[in-house]
Amino acid sequence: MIKTENLKKIYTTEEVETTALNNVNLDIKAGEYVAIMGPSGCGKSTLLNVLGLIDKPTDGKYYFLETEVSAFSERRRANLRKSNIGFVFQSFNLIDELTVFENVELPLLYLGFSSSDRKKRVNDVLEQMEIMARNNHFPQQLSGGQQQRVAVARAVVARPKLILADEPTGNLDSAHGEEVMKILGELHEAGTTIVMVTHSPSYAEYANRTVHLFDGHIVSENIQEEFMI
């Protein structure tokens, strides 16, 4: 599903060049659950952004669904994103002016779903995330855990093939963190490909593969024992 060849990302400011990703070669098959770990500033989030098509690599090749997309225009990338990728962020990034229902509904609006389809899908996913009772609330009226469940609901409502989660538990206490990890686990079992950035070794254990990044390089990859064949 995902394949990168010598992926490079360099940030240039007036005085310094920072290499965030340096020759990253990564291969992720459909249905895999990959955790990306590493110290702050090693390029984890940059890698996730490039994989999620919300950032362009400086160099190298990126095959998404067998297509080389590194040179795609913003327009084509937006189209790929909306039908294939769901995002979950550490800071939830819910839109304050929209209710729970409306936040979750948004991806379906951009995909052009009919009103009745949207309603059904959103209600289903809110049931699944157990926040149906809150569907008319605004984000500020929810706890952090509830907000992240709304964000996950929004990420999965369009049934994307790939979910990218950038420290989804970073702003949550451990109980709420466990809850979110459980939901991601269930999605993976249902067949969704998941790539998650995390600091926490224990949450990384939910994944079937862990990629360690240091200074923009992949320094090691290990497959969880229970997933070894």
């Binding site: 039908s83 990034n93 509904e105």
Partner: protein, 774 residues
């Protein structure tokens, strides 16, 4: 999706109440101004366009030595019709202010004397009567519905008689629809011009206005060329002068002066003001919307991550701006209905606001709303949609840093306009005061002006005697003109010049005591005197005329108007014989003792105004019992000369205040935003020991700098514009440096007061709260 956009827009309006209030109310006020100004302009340009044949109707105008006048000779109509087949109809139009009586009711009416063609040329429809025959009988009159009400109430006016000017009974033969206010031709009644006497109508005296209607599809250029020499050909008095006849489309009469720009200048000025005010409101919108862009960054970023194209976001933010401008627009309509009565009072018009009747208005209104939405939405829409998703999500707080240059430019622009407008208002104000207090070279205070009529004319000497023997009456005289406006022009000759060496000069025919009544000083010679029987042939000229003629010692020199030869007996000190727009012109006075003057002037004792008025009134009753006693003070006549200037000055003042208010509103919003954005910085500074004043100073510094830059731009521009404007006045104040500093200082003070409130509020806040805010 539209619903989603609307919801987002609506909730954003609700959430940021101060910004939304400033945005919406600012745009509403801006649009309301535009609508009011548009209504005014629409009325101004509608003048004389309601005539069905407007494209074929022309006013005959003439120039005497390059100076254009709209008065025409009586005889020109018949000649034009006879000589040029292209001219199919023609009419003279001359109004007199005549006393009109029926039974006990008597009023002064404007009676227009016209030819038979008049009712066929112009669209003044008859409600009763036949346009073919209404004015064919010599002693007939058609009256407006309004005038009919005054004399006939519920009776049928047709066939009944009105006594006009205490001398002739005219039979009412038609009722006209009331004359619209946007008609240059204004009258209460129309009577056949031949009533004035066939003899008079054959003369070439420039005393009437004349109109022609042309055949369809006539080559105007060719015709104008052909008629240009008509007066020269027929007026036997002319030998070596240059008189040119020309045609002016009637639709141009109201706004286009013959010798200067005319009212069209105000159309340009007010259009400019409307656009500027709307721009200021749009700038507020752009500034405030982009300033709080950081607050929308998460939304923009997330919408993009989810898959929104740039075009989706552009559409969304444009839509939002148009939505807000439509809300503002509804508010603007409310404001217009609310303020139209006071605007009418200000402009002396009867404008109505009726979008249903006025289809152009609907288009303009919708256009204004859309224009405002698009202009004010364009920059925010392009800016927001250009955020890259990661950037938007990561730097949500600081994204608004992206547009400080533009914002600075826009605020500076607003203040440039404000400084410019304040400066213009100061200069206009000074000029108006200057005019009011200017020594005109004669004394206009406590002088009454009475209309001359047949009765007084017959007993003028006795009337004058009865007045001057009273101690409250200081002087009495009569003349064709007040010294305020001497405009008639005639060819003059003087000693040492041949018959082809004439010049044109303004002249007035006066009674004895004219110069005494107006307290005009003579620098040489004497005034007209009963002791010299030949004075009726003699002349008094002003100093400008002495310079103009180059007569070294003018007294006793031969002088003539139209070859009526006499001698110069006196030189009067220069005085302003026209409005202060014009330079002092050469003027010549003649004495006429048949009293066929237009006015009687009475100087009264300023200490005893009421008794003096009573004296004049009782004499009037004795000698002119057929006419009501009506008088005006010359001071009021003078004020009226500058009424347009003064009214325009008032309107410009009002709109200046509005523009400044709108700029401040925007500044207030911007300052509150900047204080809010720097809350954390202020907290840290205060924890580290900064004082309230140093924080307030820090926050006000930027704005002060911007206002100073605005001054630097505004001063030269405003100076240039106002200098050009002042060239309209031959007599004007000097623009001096303090006006610049006053305008700049006012703008700075207003800005600092606006910003100061926010700055002090932020600076005095508890640092703990400031830090917790983040």
């Amino acid at each position: 999706m539209l619903k989603n956009y609307l919801k987002t827009a609506f909730r954003n309006i609700k959430k940021y109440k101060l910004y939304s209030f400033i945005n919406i109310s600012g745009l509403a006020v801006g649009m309301a101004c535009c609508i009011l100004i548009f209504l005014w302009i629409q009325d101004e340009i509608s003048y004389d366009r309601f005539h069905q044949h407007k494209d074929r109707l022309y006013r005959v105008v003439s120039s005497l030595e390059g100076e254009w006048t709209s008065t025409s000779p009586w005889a020109i109509n018949d000649v034009l019709k006879k000589d040029f087949p292209e001219v199919i109809r023609s009419t003279r139009f001359r109004t007199f202010h005549f006393l009109t009586d029926r039974q006990e009711k008597s009023h002064y009416e404007d009676v227009g004397f016209v030819d038979l063609d008049f009712l066929h040329m112009f669209s003044f429809p008859l409600l009763r009567g036949d346009p073919e025959t209404a004015l064919s009988s010599r002693e007939s009159v058609v009256i407006t519905k309004e005038a009919a009400q005054r004399y006939f109430k519920n009776e049928d006016p047709l066939g009944k008689f009105l006594t006009v000017n205490n001398s002739i009974d005219l039979k009412v033969t038609g009722i006209l629809k009331d004359v619209p206010s946007n008609s240059t031709l204004q009258f209460d009644m129309l009577a056949p011009v031949k009533l004035l006497g066939e003899e008079k109508l054959r003369t070439w005296a420039l005393e009437t206005s004349a109109y022609v209607m042309l055949e369809k599809n006539v080559s105007l250029q060719e015709l104008r060329f052909k008629i240009s020499g008509t007066t020269m050909k027929y007026d036997k008095r002319i030998e070596n002068q240059t008189v040119v006849n020309d045609l002016q489309p009637i639709s141009r009469m109201h706004l286009h002066g013959l010798n200067d720009a005319g009212g069209i200048l105000y159309i340009y000025i007010f259009s400019g003001i409307a656009v500027i005010i709307l721009l200021i409101a749009c700038i507020n919108f752009i500034n405030l919307t982009t300033a709080k862009s950081g607050k929308r960054a998460v939304e923009v970023g997330m919408r993009k991550v989810i898959g929104a194209q740039r075009s989706h976001l552009i559409k969304q933010f444009f839509g939002e701006a148009v939505f807000i401008s439509l809300v503002a627009f509804l508010l603007a309509i409310l404001l217009v209905s609310l303020f139209l009565p006071s605007f009418n009072q200000l402009t002396q018009k009867q404008l109505t606001f009726d979008p249903v009747e006025n289809s152009t208005l609907i288009l303009i209104l919708l256009g204004t709303a859309l224009f405002t939405g698009i202009v004010s939405g364009s920059y925010p829409a392009l800016l927001f949609s250009s955020f890259s998703p990661i950037q938007a999500l990561r730097e949500s707080g600081s994204l608004s840093f992206k547009s400080p240059v533009l914002r600075r430019v826009l605020v500076i622009f607003q203040f440039t306009v404000a400084v410019g407008l304040i400066f213009s208002a100061i200069v206009l104000q000074k000029q108006m005061t200057f005019i009011r207090n200017k020594d005109l070279g004669f004394d206009r205070s406590h002088v009454l002006r009475l209309p001359m009529n047949k009765d007084v004319q017959g007993h003028y000497q006795a009337f004058k005697q009865s007045l001057v023997k009273n101690a409250d009456i200081l002087n009495v005289t009569s003349a064709t003109n007040t010294p305020l406006s001497i405009g008639n022009i005639n060819p003059v000759y003087w000693e040492g010049r041949g018959p082809d060496q004439y010049e044109v000069m303004n002249f007035a025919a006066v009674d004895y005591d004219y110069f005494e009544t107006f307290q005009m000083d003579l620098t040489k010679g004497r005034t007209f005197s009963r002791d010299f029987a030949t004075d009726e042939k003699n002349y008094i000229i002003n100093e400008a005329a002495v310079r103009f003629t180059g007569l070294g010692s003018p007294i006793g020199k031969l002088f003539s108007i139209w070859k009526r030869e006499g001698r110069i007996i006196g030189v009067v000190k220069d005085f302003h014989s026209r409005s202060l727009h014009d330079e002092i012109k050469p003027v010549v006075f003649t004495l006429t003792t048949n009293w066929s003057h237009n006015y009687i002037f009475v100087r009264i004792n300023p200490e005893r105004i009421q008794p003096a008025l009573q004296t004049v009134q009782s004499s009037w009753k004795q000698f002119a019992s057929g006419y009501p006693f009506e008088y005006v003070f010359l001071d009021d006549v003078f004020e009226r000369q500058y009424q347009t200037d003064q009214r325009m000055g008032l309107i410009i003042n009002d709109f200046t205040l509005l523009a400044i208010f709108l700029s401040c509103l925007g500044l207030f919003g911007l300052a509150s935003y900047m204080a809010e954005r720097r809350t954390k910085e202020i907290g840290i500074r205060k924890v580290l020991g900064a004082s309230v004043s140093s924080v307030a100073l820090m926050l006000s510094k930027d704005f002060t700098r911007w206002v100073l830059i605005a001054n630097a731009i505004a001063w030269p521009v405003a100076w240039y514009v106002m200098s050009r404007w002042m060239q309209n006045y031959a007599y004007r104040i000097r623009i001096s440096w303090w006006m610049f500093f006053l305008a700049g200082g006012l703008a700075l003070i207003i800005a600092l007061l606006t910003v100061g409130y926010q700055s002090v509020k932020a600076a005095t806040a508890n640092p703990g709260d400031s830090l917790r805010y983040e």
